[in-house]
Amino acid sequence: MTVERFIPALTRGAVALIGTLAVGLVAVLAAGLDPVTTLQAIIDGALGSPYAIRQSLTEAVPVTLTALGVAVAFRAGLFNLGGDGQIYIGALGAVGVSLLFPELAPILLIPFALVVGMFGGLVWGCLAGVLRAKLRLSEIITTIMLNFIAFWIISYLVHGPLKDPGGSGYPLTREIPEAAQLPVFGDLIPSGAVLMLVAAFCVWLLLERTPTGIKIKGTGSSASASRFAGVSMSRVTILVMAIAGALAGLGGAVSLQGDQYKLGDFFSPGWGFDAVAVALIGRGTATGTLITGIAVGALRSGIQSAQGTAEVPSSIAQILLAAAVLFVIVGNAEGAGQLVRRSWARTRGLASE
């Protein structure tokens, strides 16, 4: 990369960072907090100890996995707003397998549950893909609707058939057996973080080193050129939504098996939508999304911990994330803005496809 090309990227980064920090400062002051101690508390909470780092990574994994899927969809000109639904169905698959086959050895049960969770998400994503490809229904609408369906299915199950009878009334499933729980390496690196890295590498490989990746990016940038190249839009659409769903489903399974161990109806604190922001800030690339995802995980985890130590409200994290998205789009008409515009153009062009 030449220096000339690098400078605009730096400018954009600076705009986003300064803008975000300015908004954060206003929010912190408005909450009546001292900015310096608040920042100190957040950084300590995010990175200050091995435990803090482990928590940051744990927090980062589901949102980053989902965001990687959203990024792939963005590159094909599709909005995957269905991350939450796919996460819930993924977690349902994982919890189902874990509770049905508790006798299996960990070496079998862990990957089995993960794969079933991933497959659940894949099916959920695929549904939106097929509706888009075959019936020309906007995936923006269908993925949101599928979120509701997934959420209420899970809600019904955890209030009813799957409710833990010994759970003192909470709408939660039983805890999954230890054989299904993901190990933590060296008390520092959760195995979900390793999966996240592997997934990011696979997404990078897919987008940058495979013919399919060229097709995904091609359909995202021009439907007419893709038609002329003999690339099937509907095949790519279904494939991409399947990939997005599978990654989110994996995110749900990993959070279940590596962090929460029980499925309830507030399993996801909105990772599906945070993932859209993360993928946008990461400009739809695998590396950008991975880095942003980890940063957002650390921020959330840091603020959660600062809630206890410096009484920082957790909503600050959400404000910062939203401000970051806004400033990245403002400072970057070429990248993130283009992703949104293209996807929106494809949606508006549905009728004429």
Binding site: L205, E208, R209, T210, P211, G213, I214, K215, K217, G218, S221, S222, S224, A225, S226, R227, F228, A229, G230, V231, S232, Q338
Partner: protein, 504 residues
Amino acid sequence: MTALVKMGGIVKSFGETIANDDVSLEIAAGEVHALLGENGAGKTTLMNILYGLTIPDEGTIEVGGVSVAPRNPADAIDAGVGMVHQHPLVVGALTVAENFSLGGLGDGSPASMLEAVADVVQTIPLEVDPRARIDSLPMSLRQRVEIVRCLAHGVRVLVLDEPTAVLTPDEVQQLFGEMERVVEQGRSVIFITHKLAEVQTIAQRVTVLRHGRNVGSFAVGDITSAELAEQMVGRELSDRSAKGAPRAAGAARLELRGVCAVGDDGECLLDNLDLEVCAGEIVAIAGVEGNGQRPLADICFGLRVPDSGEVLHDDERLPQLRDWGRSKVAIARIPEDRRHEGLLIDSPLWENLRYGPNLSAKRGLINRRHEVARARSLLEEFGVVPPDPMVPPSALSGGNQQKVVLARELSSDPDLVVAVNPTRGLDIGAQRDVRDRLAALRDAGKAVLVISTDLDEVIEIGDRVGVLYRGRLETPIARNVVDRARIGEAMAGLLDDQQNRAEA
């Protein structure tokens, strides 16, 4: 003649494309004035400037003797200019009356609206329920709603942008009747079209635009359709047509037998078309835009299956494009619109050089270094400037973009080349390059089919020349026996009419 509209020295460029190059235009009161030209000749740009949708780089506009510089359609309407686009801009989700109120007619109630349009509907009956939703109406009525809306605003000049393209023949007649009633009131109609017959039917005067320039204004009575066709597609018909008999061609590479194509509304697009393109020859098909070029090209590109008839490539049925990679079909395809069809305009060149039917057959990982090196040598071979595989086509000039398309398509070593308007929008030097390249391919024994609306080009490069008119094609004839007057007539459909008369 009192000029109601005077446009002088209009210049407008979009990037490096010059859409209007010093165009002047005068429209008299009470006339239907046709604006004739191929797609991309700059007709719509010129009228968008008059209507305030596009701001010109240079030039002056006068309406009724008053100098105006419309910055938006509201300015233009105030000045007395209204415009109806091919796809009317009325809001589909609103009713007819609500659409009128959007433009500021009446106080918003259907009754007051109808009052405002009452005068207008005496000359142009609306014949629609004002409470009907626009998207429930056929295109012809949407157009009429727009026309009525413009007239109710009191415009003196009504611009109609290719209004007949979306109408049935009956509806066209009705529209022409409406146009006549409008000009009877002393207003003027500017009628954008590329159909010669319509010019002769409805217009009193005609201005021809070609490559963004005004090539002349004529009284319709003083000029024949054949002459108009020449004006429109290139009047300096070169003497290159007399460069001797073509050499003998080899085996047939592409054969179309009895090919018919039917449009969405059941209209006939291609009518029992026979065509043979042989190794070592260039077959060039002339014709005015919209006479079947698009479906013919799509069929050769594997993008459209003929409704009847056969398409043979090397004596085998031509598969659909998506199966080309698997069945090793290598046909070079130069599409009409290189920016939107030929290229991924924002993706790096090396990806563009792979983006085609062969990509679908490719498996496994891409060796990036190998691809970039391949791209660089292709770009250098085809003289693309700059030969940088990482830049996107949007950073290149039109001529270089076309070279990228050629590089990709010829890299599969095809034995057949199909090109549609391969030099449109290119500067003279780039045109030369592309035509030389096509001739070199012919000399190397490839079969070449060129479908072009540029008659100069057809006559210059075609070994055999045919004319497409209303989906029909006569067997292309050798260029040394081509009579250019006859081609002009064939393009204007006059041969056809004479034949019909003779038969009747």
